[in-house]
Amino acid sequence: MSKKWTAFAVPVVSVLLGLFAGAIIMLISGNNPAAGYAALWNGAFGDLFYTGETLRQMTPYVFAGLAVAFAFRTGLFNIGVEGQLLVGWLASVWVGVAFELPKIIHLPLAILAGALAGAVWGFIPGFLKARLRVHEVIVTIMMNYTALHVTNHLIRNVISDGSDATDAIKETASLRSPFLENITDFSSLHNGIYLAAIAALIMWLMLEKTTLGYELRAVGYNQQASEYAGMSVNRNIILSMVISGAFAGIGGAMQGLGTFGNMFINSGFSGIGFDGIAVALLGGNTAIGVVLAALLFGSLKVGSLNMPLESGIPNELVEIVIALIIFFVASSYMITWLLGRFKKKEAK
């Protein structure tokens, strides 16, 4: 079986298995799977408004997915996207609220602030990994909770006076687009979707067409060989986490400048960072794969909200389906083995 074919088949089979398992759960719980999935489809693409919402939900997923995928290619597991996203969100909103500037400067500045904050949050685990060989998984998890409590503290005590949310950002820092809202029947779709497409393109160019990307991937394949070839493994590890954090930070800026227009106290995580892991895995850690997987997860998430209304099935079903999809992708050994068996039988 060719490698390319496997790379394509594993995610597709995983998604199908996940949806199939979801159908079985619906059957067991006494619901009609066809009605459930019809409601899901209508909730995601049923009319222009829902399509707009799906694309809006997809935007931060693309960034979170790119962030996880980028680190993965250098052999690093960035579970810290959630935290990097939160600090990026706060930094962009902060700039969006505090400055009075023309739009052409203000908006890029706010996005840049988000990227920078995310990059700083990614630098710490990268540095600790490079210099002290501390495992990045644990550090990024700890950084997530640190980010959650620190941003909450800053919102309540520094940016506002004990209030639960920041002020709304200035119009000059907003990603809102009357045009996109008009053509999608006034959904909350914003200009971030263009940025997501550009970001995916940048990631592809950077990884596949530049020396930097070549080095990053080489370190991901084999650290010893890269070191021997004269690359600085430590520098690449730090760089990879910084860039990954910057992607995540911009994802946060999409929430702050586009979807919500402010930031509020979060009692828990938004989940976008963790979903980003699923997006990256399903997308095979490639730019185009991430975009497709983000579209899938965006439509699952938004579509699921329609399931209780139209078919009486709790929307958490979709969480279960997503979890199972991750399981199946992670257990790709099982799927390739199964596919291999299947092929052999056919050959006979």
């Binding site: 597991f77 579970i79 501390v134 828990g268 995580f269 709790p314 079903l317 969480e319 997503i322 992670a330």
Partner: protein
């Protein structure tokens, strides 16, 4: 408030907050000692909390005051079953253990909330009536000063947690079973050569971590949150993971770290009523467990090293 009351209050609330963390961190120790990373502790706690609350609400009428204790068994079973999924994926199917753990967390939350909506037709359960309550120990609680500080205002699961920590230490370090379990986590190939069934040991270890994770969630639900919703377990599992690392993958270390984290947590809650802590913003206490764990890993507070084979699936014949 006089000093004694303050100290007694801090001690009892620290141990109260630490109890679920101790159980779950011990679960993490078992799993990681055998070489399987378990990010899924959070999910195991979620499923344990969910099972305990549902069991408690359903069977309170028949079991009366014993309900929370019996619910613990149900929760352990649920945690154990869920952990087997992690075991199958990460041991048999050689999945990335971190990814599989993340999936466990997703699955536990999705499944439990799905079932809550199916069972109760709303987003959260009712409050339970019979729960673990803080009380003073008979005899020991009557000792002046020491009794007031150490043996007053505690719930029984706390003592169970401390006992389980010592038991885990004994099992892991003083029995052949424990030696095998650690061998599988340090050098699976050597263990395999010596005739130890690596996969079987890892399955057992992950199952134990499921039992303890479920137990931790159940204790949390029945002593602290008292109902189940999406916000019941938010990070306690990861804090237990932090406690395990801060405790250097040692059962007693994990217990100590869990108590310390419980101390930080309770200070962030009761701190406002303590004179010299009023001025410290709660955020420092809230992030303390996480920052300290990072510092511990970085070697600033003694080096913490994971079991050598932790995180790598064992494939027979591979070098």
């Amino acid at each position: 408030m006089d000093t004694l009351t303050i100290i007694a209050l801090i001690v009892s609330s620290s141990l109260f907050a630490a109890t679920p963390l101790i159980f779950t961190a011990l679960g993490g120790v078992f799993s990681e000692k055998s070489g399987v990373v378990n990010i899924g502790l959070e999910g195991l706690m979620i499923i344990g909390a969910f099972t305990a609350i549902v069991f408690n609400l359903t069977f309170e009428a028949s079991f009366g005051a014993a309900t929370p204790w019996i619910a613990l068994f149900a929760a352990m079973l649920a945690g154990g079953l869920l952990s087997l999924l992690h075991a199958v994926a990460s041991i048999t199917f050689r999945a990335d253990q971190v990814v599989s753990g993340v999936a466990i967390n997703f699955l536990a939350l999705g499944l439990s909330l799905f079932l809550v909506k199916l069972l109760y037709d709303k987003g959260q359960t009712d409050m339970i009536n019979t729960r673990f309550i803080k009380k003073d120990l008979p005899l020991l609680g009557d000792i002046p000063v020491i009794g007031d500080i150490l043996f007053s205002g505690l719930a029984y699961p706390t003592f169970l947690a401390i006992a389980v920590a010592f038991l885990s230490w004994y099992v892991l370090y003083k029995t052949p079973f424990g030696l095998r379990l650690r061998a599988v986590g340090e050098h699976p190939m050597a263990a395999d050569t010596m005739g130890i069934n690596v996969a079987k040991m890892r399955y057992i270890a992950v199952f134990i971590s499921g039992l303890l994770g479920g137990l931790g969630g159940a204790v949390y639900a029945q002593s602290i949150s008292l109902d189940f919703s999406h916000a019941t377990i938010t990070g306690q599992g990861f804090m237990a993971l932090a406690a395990m690392i801060f405790g250097k993958w040692h059962p007693l270390g994990a217990m100590g770290a869990a108590i310390f984290f419980g101390f930080a947590q309770s200070l962030s809650i009761v701190g406002s009523s303590i004179p010299f802590l009023e001025t410290v913003p709660a955020v420092y206490l809230l992030i303390a467990p996480y920052v300290l764990t990072i510092l511990a890993l970085a070697g600033f507070i003694g080096r913490a090293d994971a079991p050598k084979a932790s995180g790598t699936p064992y494939v027979k014949g591979n070098r």
